[in-house]
Amino acid sequence: MTKSFIWRIVDVIVGGIFIYAGVIKMLDPVQFANDIDNYKTLPWFFSVRLAFYLPWLEIFCGLAVIFRFLYRGGLSILMALIALFIAATIAARARGLDITCGCFGHASQHWSFPQHMAVDIAIFVGLIALWCSSRAQARSQL
């Protein structure tokens, strides 16, 4: 009982982080398109379209994690997104690009590279833990 309550708290924290990050970016898609463009990985044509789509995907997946509806799908997408983001940030760093991810709006604007990495890895670990706990629960119900 206590264990499942703790996992629910982790659900709310992790889901809430993605909802917050999604809402911030959804409110200013132009800035987010510029942030994606700064990675110099995609042409503007795709950056601008992703800037409209990704925030909503984050919000929907965050809600899925909080309300445990389409839960595993939400967790899988969020893990893929954060892994992709970590890889893109490392690649940008390796190419000497000074990028602002804009992931959390103005709050993250002046974060250093290690700070970005620490936050992203912590979220990634949280998602993996939730995934493992959900698997264990599913097995115990069999």
């Binding site: 132009v30 909503w56 995907l57 799908g73 997408i77």
Partner: protein
């Protein structure tokens, strides 16, 4: 379990499309879909040169690149030393002048970012980004 996660993930991916399309329609006139800089904010080398003394040139590249070479009469104004360089630049600006900002090449973002800050932070009007950047200028002046 994996199949279920994939199914749920695909559903979330599809669901997120709907508000993203709606937001895209809402922003359709407020964002440039084909280029990171709207066509109305771009200026070619020939157009900018035709403005003659009516144009004021701003070099958004790092100090060392500016020191190596720059458009004759250009002012250095990059984001690294923004607070220091902006007060040196502003006395040279007057309302009837058009500001032409450039960085290294077509693909760099520094000119776009400096132009945006000149419009938003310094409240300047008629701020343009040079198409092709410094490379474009050099090609035309060989």
């Amino acid at each position: 379990m994996k199949l279920r996660a994939v199914r749920e993930g695909l559903l979330l991916i599809a669901l997120a499309c709907l508000p993203a399309i709606g937001e895209g329609i809402y922003f359709r006139d407020k964002i440039s879909w084909q280029s990171s800089i709207p066509a109305s904010e771009l200026v070619t080398v020939d157009q900018a040169r035709a403005w003659g003394d009516g144009a004021i040139w701003v070099d958004a590249r790092p100090d060392e690149e500016f020191a190596r070479d720059h458009v004759p009469g250009a002012f250095s104004l990059n984001e690294d030393r923004w607070n220091e360089l902006l007060p040196q630049f502003l006395p040279n600006w007057s309302p009837e002048k058009k500001v032409v900002v450039y960085c290294s090449a077509e693909s760099c973002n520094a000119a776009r970012d400096v132009a945006k800050r000149l419009r938003d932070d310094a409240q300047l009007r008629d701020v343009f980004v040079l198409q092709g950047g410094w490379e474009g200028w050099v090609k035309k002046n060989r």
